[in-house]
Point group: C2
């Protein structure tokens, strides 16, 4: 608080001066006592100053008995997954009742390093949505691929104490933590020295390994999948996030482990939500709604989505409807069957209504992060897949998830040993093209279960290094698709018979665009339809999101990086040929 | 955390190295899930590293199924009220299971200013009890008396960011907050700028005044008296403390407003506990026990007394039994009928057992704060009470509390108008003698209900300015009592027929002593008996504590400062003579 602001608020709160606004007749969520009470909320200079009827206000609005709920805080998200720039993301999620997000910009930092962090900071300044950041802890995610940047503790040092930097982002390198990896400890030290938070990421970590991980001060996790895991993690002192992303959806299972006794240790997050999910279902409110539908009392769910995140991350100016807090809240008619924001206020101003943004975010030009494509000597020749035998390892897609299986198959080859597509086999070529440092690296392998009959799909979203990933039955379409992405600066594209079917341009680091959510959704809807109808991609999978995870060498079982085929369980490269 | 420590703990937690100690077969309090679980607690270098049976430890202790509970945190206390120096206070409260206190040294600062703060910091360094401080916000408490020091924001500035300074102590000057008092806002600004806590003190403040007070960031209160008040304060965002002091006891009433829904906003504190109360009942555990007896579930009460205070004050290294937390805990056989610590561990070392201290605190010599008596020209003459009429205002003692009533009485005078003691009337003379700045100020008035038949009692504990206060039926004994305190540097003394009956010497600022709790208790027990048996002081009141509050001009209704008789409700001095 600033002294001048305190003076203004004190005058209003004491009735010596008029408030700017009063919302009358609201059912106010009291997240401290986990109950609702009927009252009026008086607002001055963007802050709540009281509930008392002997105050005066210039403007009066009647909530007509609707619920007044603190703006939701998305405790962990990657804005990049929305394909939207921070300003468009604000316009997209604010109407859902989300007023604050804690973002880890590790996708863009994997492409553009600190330029990405600078851009995200700048592009999210002075927009309706409050955007806080955790500096990415794991850029790159592994040493088995080429990312656009390597961020060391020494790089992060100058940022860690920033006003909108709350700490270190998800520490995915839990083996490094347990093994006292020097660089990992240096990164953790930044937070120890500066009293900052450290976000965790420890899927399935239990027992003494979990204890070891937690004792370093890592105090959140968003990777719990079972109620039992949730209870062990809360017991050991972690805040556990109920995540409802697009690919990873954990609310339904986790909420079984949540009750009145541990509710103060529960947060909600989206992690990664695709544009179509945001359009159709919403943002963090979708997970909250789902939890309520699964039986969590609305007052508890609301508390978890507001106060808890504020307390966990030290955001003392928000998270509740109380004197001195920011007037970030929304009105809604019902809470029992889920939560749909109707009128959304940020700093006491109506910014969205009826799921439409009123106060649009100002836009920041994406300098230094646009058109990041540095590919050397790419040509069709590099896509040739030569095999020493017929029997090969194959990436088996598992529908509805991000894991794959390590399959085997017998394939056809020509006289030179070059793989030949068999229209009956549903086996396609998959290629990863390094795009950051002009290394010229291209690796090729085979994938099964994608369904594509003829043509190619390529994307520059390929977790976490975001090289170009392409899949297809023929090298010509694949080549054209890859070249299209190089030319546009990235995105998602589809080719068939050497013709471009459609392209979703993601000019910001090859991950995001300045288009609006509705434009992006319309484009992706169209492309999904074409992928299915014109390319024959299986209905059971998302044609684009599935591809995004095929290069991620930390999620089992078999993946392809720009450096080769990678067995995640063995944590090493393996040859294409099987025994 | 330090990197070197993290490495040691990681080795132990991963089983690569032996732990120092394991407490086996304990019923461990999980304050996050508010439940108990049976398990083992592994400790290394004073920290908890895990619960898992595949770890090794050099030393093994069997808890034999006893409860293992995180060390209690007393969220607000004035150590001075115990009459003990910090080291002796540590030895006194650690055996009760209290391992951390948040102390406001405003008593000693009222006498010795920043020397008092320096002494308290130094004397509490490296002792078993963790002592954190809030810098006093209200020295002096009012402008209607002479204290030993005036602490301005500019004085506090250099301390606010100290390692063991958590913020600003109880802001008793709530009218100053509401009225935007410049100096008050400067003090609050210190916390706003440094991200520090601000403790509240707002008895009976409700409605818009409470909202105004809270919006400045003041986020705790220990003055709530009713469940209704507790709910309004929690609703507005405050942590509410359940206080069980010696004079002020609020647990029984407040606990009616506490439930599973708001438990995360509840703390326990002692505020002021006298030595005899600590000896007979304990410290903060006494309030916790009382709450349990009143029906609060033990798991909830324990959480409030540990985790909540740690979260409220940002003490991230403690407050629970979890990996990475300090091994501050105690073992006890039962929790259902209240909590009595049996074995107390601090940093993994057994420091007390069977209510006896094992590891005594090191003692710090009280430089600059001993013998603070600067009284000018004191003599019996100054005690003469001359009245212009027979009808006088009189301080009417209310048994069992700190408030008084403003009474009236008709008294006897001699030919010069000098008051004459009437043995039938139970009206005594009360005098306040300024002791800090040799002003020579002495003020006299009359008090009813004390019961003393013959003799005098004097004390240098007189909230909050701690001048000398004396009561008696004759000026000779009063004079000797006051002179005794001047000679000893302060304390409590009793005279009768010009003979010293007993003296409790408080050589540290006239408030505290380096004697042990048992010595102090024995002395006070003896003096209480003499006060009753030999002086005839009423059984219904505490002969010494009652006196301590007679000079406090912020507690109604009629008080006496060194500057005169003060009507607290009118907030002004009033003449002795009534209409």
């Amino acid at each position: 608080m600033e002294k001048e602001l305190a003076e203004v608020l004190l005058d209003a709160a004491n009735g010596r001066d008029e408030c700017d606004l009063v919302i009358k007749n609201a059912r106010i969520a009291d997240v401290y006592n986990q109950e609702f009470f009927t009252g009026n909320v008086y607002i001055k200079n963007g802050y709540i100053v009281g509930f008392d009827d002997d105050l005066k206000a210039k403007e009066e609005k009647d909530a007509e008995g609707r619920y007044l709920i603190p703006g939701f805080i998305d405790a962990h998200c990657h804005i990049e997954s929305s394909h939207l720039s921070p300003s468009e993301y604000s316009d997209a999620v604010v109407p859902t009742g989300c007023t604050t997000v804690i973002a880890d910009p590790h996708e863009i930092c994997n492409v553009t390093g600190l330029d990405g962090l600078e851009y995200m900071l700048k592009a999210s300044e002075d927009i309706p949505l409050s955007v806080y950041f955790m500096v990415p802890s794991c850029v790159p995610a592994t040493a088995f691929e080429h990312s656009g940047a390597v961020l060391l503790a020494s790089d992060l040092k100058k940022y860690i104490d920033g006003k909108r930097i709350l700490g270190l982002g998800e520490m995915m390198n839990y083996p490094g933590v347990l093994a006292k990896d020097e660089e990992v400890l240096k990164k953790l030290s930044l937070c120890w020295e500066n009293g900052k938070n450290i976000d965790g990421h420890c899927p399935s970590l239990r027992g003494k390994e979990l204890s070891a991980y937690v004792l370093t001060g890592i105090n959140t996790d968003h990777e719990a999948e079972t109620a039992e895991e949730l209870r062990e993690k809360t017991r050991k002192g972690m805040y556990v996030m109920l995540r409802q992303g697009t690919a990873c959806q954990n609310v339904k299972e986790l909420v079984k482990g949540v009750d009145e006794k541990n509710i103060s240790r529960i947060l909600f997050c989206t992690d990664d939500r695709q544009p179509q999910s945001i359009t159709r279902e919403g943002g963090v409110n979708y997970g909250v709604s789902l939890a309520i539908k699964e039986g969590l009392a609305p007052a508890l769910a609301i508390r978890a989505a507001s106060l808890n995140a504020a307390l966990c991350y030290g955001l003392s100016d928000r998270g509740s409807i109380a004197p001195g807090k920011r007037a970030d809240f929304f009105l809604t008619s019902e809470v029992k069957d889920g939560i749909k924001a109707e009128d959304v206020y940020i700093s006491g101003t109506l910014v969205a209504s009826g799921n439409r943004i009123i106060k649009k975010a100002k836009h920041t030009k994406p300098e230094n992060v646009a058109g990041k494509m540095d590919v050397k000597d790419f040509s069709k020749e590099k896509l040739r897949l030569t095999l020493k035998g017929d029997c090969v390892r194959i990436i088996d897609i598992v529908a509805g998830g991000v894991v794959t299986k390590c399959g085997k198959a017998k394939v056809k080859r020509d006289e030179d040993g070059t793989w030949i597509h068999d229209p009956k086999a549903d086996i396609l070529k998959i290629s990863v093209i390094e795009r950051h440092h002009a290394t010229g690296l291209v690796s090729n392998a085979l994938i099964r279960g994608y369904g594509l009959k003829h043509g190619a799909v390529a994307t520059s979203i390929a977790h976490d290094s975001h090289n170009i990933i392409a899949v297809g039955d023929n090298d010509e379409d694949m080549e054209l698709a890859v070249k299209k992405l190089i030319a546009t600066g990235g995105g998602i594209t589809m080719f068939c018979d050497r013709k471009e079917l459609a392209t979703h341009v993601l000019e910001i680091a090859g991950l995001m665009t300045d288009a609006t959510l509705s434009e992006v959704t319309a484009c992706l809807d169209m492309m999904h339809e074409k992928a299915e109808k014109e390319l024959g991609v299986s209905k059971d999978i998302d044609p684009f999101m599935t591809l995004c995870f095929m290069a991620l060498p930390v999620i089992p079982a078999l993946k392809l990086t720009d450096s080769g085929l990678f067995d995640v369980n063995a944590f090493s490269f393996v040859p294409l040929e099987a025994d």
